[in-house]
Each structure stands twice: as C-alpha cells, then as structure tokens.
Amino acid sequence: MSTKPLDYENLNENVKKCQYAVRGELYLRASELQKEGKKIIFTNVGNPHALGQKPLTFPRQVIALCQAPFLLDDPNVGLLFPADAIAKAKHYLSLNSGGLGAYSDSRGIPGVRIEVADFIERRDGYPSDPEHIFLTDGASKGIMQILHTIIRVPTDGVLVPVPQYPLYSATISLYGGSLVPYYLEETADWGLDINDLRQSIGQARQNGTTVRAMVIINPGNPTGQCLTEQNLRQIIQFCYEENLVLLADEVYQQNIYQDKHPFMSARKVLFDMGQPISKELQLVSFHTVSKGYWGECGQRGGYFEMTNIPPKSVEEIYKVASISLSPNVPAQIFMGLLANPLKLGDISYEQFSRESKGILESLRRRAHIMTDGFNSCKNVVWAMYSFPQIQLPPRAIDAAKKVEKAADVFYCLKLLEATGISTVPGSGFGQKEGVFHLRTTILPAEEDMPSIMSSFKKFNDEFMDRYE
C-alpha cells in the first residue's frame, strides 16, 4: 500500500530538520510534570505576564475602549476610564477605517507607522521613513519574512551568533538555507572579536556557502549583553565590506540592567559613520511589544524597519505581507502606544511612569540576584543574568551519554525533576564544543527569587558532589 502524503516519511525534510528548543524537550517534560501536580517554575521563555508581571494599565484601558467603541458614547464611561485613555482610543480608532475589526494596510496602519518613525528618530537622532516600517504579528514573523526573502538555495548562508535565539536556526532550517555560526566570547562579556567573524565567513565560503546576511541580537538573547559601540562599528564595516545585509534583532532594547554598555541601535551607529556606508549598507532592524517593561507577548506585536533596501525589493516584501492581508490591529495599537507614550502632564502619566519604573527596577534587581546566585554555585561561572556556564564533570557527561542525552539536557532534566525549575539547555542555543550552559530568565516574581536561587544552588552543589 502506498504511503500517504502526510505520513512522517513524506513530510518536507526542512520541517523535520528544524528545531526550536524553547518549546522543545524540557518544556514538554515540564508540562507533563505540571499535569501530574508538580509545581513548575517556567523560566524557559521570556514570558513575563505568565510569571506574575502585571500589564501596564494605560495601554489596556485604551485597547478595551477600542474593542468596545460603544463605551465611548456612554455618559458613564468616565467612571471607569481616564480622559486621556478615552482620547487615545478615539485617536487610534480614527487611524484605521473600521477600527479593530478591519484589515489595515498590509504594512500596518499608516498613522501608527508614523508614530514608530518618530520614536526611532527621537531615540537615534536621525529621521526614519514610515514607508520603510512594516508592522508584523510579533517580531518573529518579520524575521521569518525577511529570511525567506534572502534564502534562495541551500548554499545561501546567514551568519548567526552562537549562542543564539533558536528562532534563527529554526527558520534557516525551514527555508532550506545554511546557518553560519560566529562565536561570541564568553570571557569578554559575550563580546565580538572581529577576527572570529572573519574566520567564520572565510570557512563558510571555502565550503561553497554564499554568505548573504548577518544577524546580531542586541541586547543579546540568551546572553543578555549589549554590544559595545566599537563592536557595532566593526560589524557594520564588516557587513559593508563583505556585502552582507545586517539583521539587527533589537527586541530587548528596553531591558538594560547595567550601565557599562548602554544600548545603541545599529541604525544610529550606521548613520554616525556617515557616507558612503550610511547610504549603502543594507540593514533591517526588529522590535516588539513582547519584551522591555511592557511584556505583552500575547498580543503578537512587532515591526521591522528597512534601511537602504531598494524600492523594488521593498515592493516584493510588501507583496508577501499582503498575502496575509494585515497584522492584527490591536497589537498595532500597542505598538503605537509604545512608540508614542504618555507625556508629563497627561492624567495617566504618573501612574504609567510609576508602573514602568517599578517593573524595570525590579527586573534589574532580579538580574543581579540571579547573577550573584549563579556565581556563588559550584562550577557555575560567567553568569550574566540568565545564561550561566555549567562546568559538568566528566562522570556527569558519561551518565548523560548512557541515557542518550546531551550533557546539558541531562543536567536540566535533573534540575527540573528535583526543583521544578524549567530551563532551556544551552545546546538549544548553540555553544562551543564541550562547554555547557543553561538558559533561564530573570522573570520569576521578586519574592520567589531567593528561594529559587537557593533551590538551584542546593541541587547544583549536590549534583556536582555526586558526579565529581
């Protein structure tokens, strides 16, 4: 009997090859344990609201009014909603014919894109063109779209940092391209050595790969660091010389917990470098409403901004966006509110400021609790918030091999079973051969952090004692 189209062996190989560890083996095991009644602390994905972070009040008020515009006609609406939320709701409803329920322009609501362009200009000091800004259902969709435009054949390569957020490896696999790794240097605050980059590209080309693009994740995921200005300049120069399009994933630009290396956008640095490079280097920058202090992951809101991409290519990218008609409208409004925030003097400004500051300061404190906590554990080093290196003893590595698991997967599963802490093994993000990490997040509630860190320490030190 002939096999059927959707029998496993007949599936698209690229689908089978692609892996996405953030919701892979560890997460599935954690979900199983949760069903059995075990208390699980999910730190596998950057999902703040799932761990108790509250949504900012003002955006939710605006969206609720946009959802139910008949409220705006009710004389009692002021009892529940402040005047500036009401005004903002009216503003956003006026920007899309049909409000939340109509497909918008496939690039996103023009008025919101203008707000995003203004935000970028205020941030960087250089003007931005709303026509080159596309809103998307989360930054992930935008990243996938751009990579799909770039990858033509299996020998098309994309430079991706190791460790990386596995959306990149999964997408490159899915679209049948080649991932070309470049290594970040753990001992140098996960910085970049330009010579490593040259080596990576050289090797890839020797293997017949046409390297077309370079991804930077800044601030880094999973590593949490910001690239220095010098690094950014080197990267931009490198992409220019090597004829690569630079893809700058900047979704964590609001999450900075140290003052040593502030965030600088790739675009700002590019324009600071002046012509000819500022007019020639092809750059796509990505941002989101899912991170920062907003943490509105469930809305699926994001954008990408294209710099120096030729008009005909922009047309093609538009064409692909139009097939899905439009990104979801509520998330576009969240993006508008993020880009065009309340000002001093607005009724809700004080509350909004207080809530935002509160979240950011708490994140900063938690980042430090975690860093210090990890660094005080046996054989745990170089922790910067959430991607500590675990120096696994050879006997542990052997034990892992016996059960056919990667060493860090083995460690993380044992950690999960002992403490309920669900992390993602470093192999999900890529790491140097023989070096192990795990990724967690700094998102558990502040009051839970000390006990989580002591749980971890107890488990780790016992594990190390057992296998040393």
């Binding site: 139910a68 008949f70 529940l80 959306l167 469930g298 699926r300 097939i323």
Partner: protein, 481 residues
C-alpha cells in the same frame, strides 16, 4: 552588488502573486490621495473598495457581545468594579470571568500553549460538535492568527519540491496559488464549471490528477473552498461525499477552507462541514486526512483585523502531529485576543442568555443585508450587456463573466495588460469602483471575469449600480464598433 536586490531576492518570492491587494489597489490608493489633495480632479468623489472581504472597513458593525467580552478580557481589572455592571451586559461579564479562569494567572499578555489556550480549544471543540453532531478533540485544534497562517503551515509540511502538487479550484482565492509558489510547489488546477453554478465534477478532478501524475507531479492534497471564493457556490452534500471518496481513494489530504461557513444566502443550500460529511459516511481517523480551516474574519462577525482562526486536523499520525506542533511553536503562539474571539464565534450566546436576543438581531441584520446586497448587485450585473453572473449562494463576492469584445482585447494587448485588468482599470478611473480582475483568481483561458464584493453599505449600492451600468454601456459602445 547589494545583497537584497530584485535580482538576488528569493525567486519564490518573485514568483508569487496576490491580486487582492495588487496593482489595481495601488492605483486606487493614488486616486484616493488625488481626491484628497485635489477635490474634483476625478469624475467621482470617493473610492469604493469592492476588492477585499473587509466588512468592517465599510461600516459593518461588530457583534456587541463579542466586543464586550474582548474588552473585559483586555482589561480585567475593571471586572471587580461596580460601575462595570452599568456599562456591560451581565452575560458578557460572566463569559469574561469564565474565559479568564481558563488562562493561567488571567494573563492575556502571556504567550499561551502553542496550539492555543486549552480551555478555549475545549470551547471550540464543543462548538464544532454542536454544529456537526460529531465530536471534536481539542488536541486536534491549532489556533492561528487568522486562517491564512494555518494554510501556510500545511503547505510548508506538504511541499518538499516543485514535484509536489496541490489540487486547487479554478477560480481560487489567491492565498493558495501564492502559498504554493512561496513554498516551491506546483499548483494543479481543477476547473469549476461556470455553466452549472460553478459545479465541481469528480471527472474533472480525476482528469487533472492523472494529467499531473503523467507529468511527474506527486499530487498531495486537494483544496476545496466551501462556500467558494471568489465563486460563492455552496457544495451539495452528495458532491461533498464524492469529494471525500475521491480523496480517500487517491490518498490525498483534504484541505477544507470553510471560512465562509456562516455566509449562506439561499434557502435551497446549506453548509455542511467536511468533518461532518466524512464522519457521517462512517470514515474516521484511519480513513482520511482532513484539515478544516475556520476564521473570525468572515461570517456575520467580520472581525478581519483581529486575526483569529483555527485549523482542525484529523487523520494524522502522532509523529506528524508533533511536526505540526513544532512548526506552530516556532512562532510561540497566536494572538490571545484572536483566540478568545475564535472561541466566542464557535460558542455564541444561546437562547435564554441575556444577550441572546440582541445578538440574534445583530446577526440577522447583517446576514439579511448581505443577502439583499448580493441580490441587488447580481441583478445589476446580469442586466449588463455581455455580462453573466452566477448567483452568490454564499461567501461575500460576485464573480461575473464579461464577454469582452475583440477590440477591447486588442487594446488590452497593446497596453500590455490582461483584458480583465484593462476593464477593471478603466472602471476604476471612470467610477472609483475597485474590483479585482479575474486573472488574479485564474479562470478558464479565454474567459474574463472580475470579483466584486457584496460589502459596500446598502445605501451606496444604487449609486454603484448606476455608475457601473453607465460605465459598462460606454465601454461596450466604444469597443464594439
């Protein structure tokens, strides 16, 4: 040489087309800007977008109950306030509580399970069972940002190379042709029969399947759009059973696009889901692989901007389901508000609920208005010289056929435009009415059509009819000589 230029872009991107927001719309937007900058610069004072199934952009009102629940779920902190009871109906408040209790921590801002929130899938599964009389498993459901991403997922799974073919109806909604091109596969056309109300003949399916096979194409799936887009026909039950038998016999995955399931305007036709049909034939998981798509964008709710929808997958092995789950997980999850809306659409207010009467009245008003507009436009089109238009049994569109005179076809060739695009452009420039040329949907070669929605406000229909009629007469006078 720059990295992303028109010469170095992924050729699959270059190959795909999507006419619904294609060239004609770009022209329309320019004209709209003209009217803004220069009132009186054209022989019409507004653009009438009849190109896209986007009801709320043309003043269709959303369903109140749905929006009440969504607003409360977006801003749950007002649920405990007494003022809320004055502004929202009691059953909307109750439903919001119910939904929020199904979301861990009531966190609507958190990524959910990659298939969608379990409690909402339970609700949708119950809704499917109530609709069909056969059970649905919430684990078979994948909630997506509209039905379109679900279609893309299936194409991704099914297409390995350009030797993989997908049978698609002609005319078809161009998501299918675009998605197949994007994923590097081959569209295998099967022609719907205009003479028999866009009938689907099994003999035609067999013929096309065999032709494809003889050309070395491995045909993997059959797409059926029911009710049809752009054609508006609703399949008869017997026809549906034949289609199921065909897929079972040929080992094809049946991809059932049922997004217009709540848009049926004629008393002699009824929507039956393919899930119901297969189960009523006694076929289960082992007999046929079926993927059914539904959306919140159409029906009487028309919530296009929300991007809500789902696919129900049945008849797949656990290994394959794992792969589908994996694909869904790369994007983490679909937007939560859209998920909630999908659950509301599949389990609306019932008899006895406080909001039931107003909900019913709103639903009835939208559907009866759509039926009236369909009829009015259909009659108008059929009264034009050289134009025939099948009735819109369902969906949101009319797809009239225009018998273009030779002189017009020649003029189109000279202008290097498809003849129906030529007609559509002239129509736009003369009247401000935007339709999509039939070539965007594909059609029997040598025939010409355009797709016009039935969505413009009822009070604008007479003006549309008269402008269209006047334009068409002038067009025929000019090109018939």
């Amino acid at each position: 040489m720059d990295s992303i230029t028109i010469d170095t872009i992924n050729p699959k991107v270059l190959k795909c087309e999507y006419a619904v927001r294609g060239e004609i719309v770009t022209i329309a937007q320019k004209l709209q800007q003209d009217l803004k900058d220069n009132p009186g610069s054209h022989p019409f004072d507004e653009i009438l977008y009849c190109n896209i199934g986007n009801p709320q952009s043309l003043a269709q009102q959303p369903i109140t109950f749905f929006r009440e629940v969504l607003a409360l779920c977006d801003h749950p902190s007002i649920l405990d306030k007494s003022e809320t009871q004055g502004l929202f109906s009691a059953d909307a408040i109750e439903r919001a509580f119910q939904i929020l209790d199904q979301i861990p921590g009531r966190a609507t801002g958190a990524y959910s399970h990659s298939q969608g929130i379990k409690g909402l899938r339970d609700t949708i599964a119950s809704g499917i069972e109530a609709r069909d009389g056969f059970p649905a498993d919430p684990n078979d459901l994948f909630l997506t940002d509209g039905a379109s991403p679900a279609v893309h997922m299936m194409m991704q799974l099914l297409i390995r190379s350009e030797n993989d073919g997908i049978l698609c109806p002609i005319p078809q909604y161009p998501l299918y042709s675009a998605s197949i091109a994007l994923h590097g596969g081959t569209l295998v056309p099967y022609y719907l029969d205009e003479q028999t109300g866009w009938g689907l003949e099994i003999s035609e399916l067999e013929h096309q399947l065999n032709t494809a096979k003889s050309n070395g194409i491995d045909v993997r799936a059959l797409v059926v759009i029911n009710p049809g887009n752009p054609t508006g026909q609703v399949l008869g039950e017997a026809n549906q059973r034949e289609i199921v038998e065909f897929c079972k016999k040929e080992g094809l995955v049946l991809l059932a696009d049922e997004v217009y399931q709540e848009n049926v305007y004629v008393p002699d036709k009824k929507f039956h889901s393919f899930k119901k049909i297969t189960r009523s034939m006694g076929y289960g998981e082992k007999d046929i692989s079926l993927v059914s798509f539904q959306s919140v964008s159409k029906g009487f709710y028309g919530e296009c901007g929300k991007r809500g929808g789902y696919m129900e997958i049945t008849g797949f092995s656990p290994e394959v389901r794992e792969q589908i789950y994996k694909l869904a997980s790369v994007n983490l999850c679909s937007n939560i508000s859209g998920q909630i809306l999908a659950s509301l659409v599949m389990s609306p207010p019932k008899v006895g609920d406080e909001s039931y009467e107003s909900f019913s009245a709103e639903k009835e008003a939208v559907l009866s208005s759509l039926a009236r507009r369909a009829q009015a436009l259909q009659d108008a089109l059929n009264s034009l010289e050289g134009v025939t238009c099948n009735r819109a049994e369902g969906a949101m569109y009319l797809f009239p056929r225009i018998n273009l005179p030779d002189k017009a076809i020649k003029a189109a060739e000279e202008a290097k435009t498809a003849p129906d695009a030529f007609y559509a452009k002239l129509l736009l420039n003369a009247t401000g009415i935007v339709v999509v040329p039939g070539s965007g949907f594909r059609q029997v070669p040598g025939t010409w059509h355009f797709r016009c929605t039935i969505l413009p406000q009822e009070e604008k229909i007479p003006a549309i009819v008269s402008r269209l009629t006047e334009f068409h007469k002038k067009f025929m006078d000019e090109f018939c000589g």
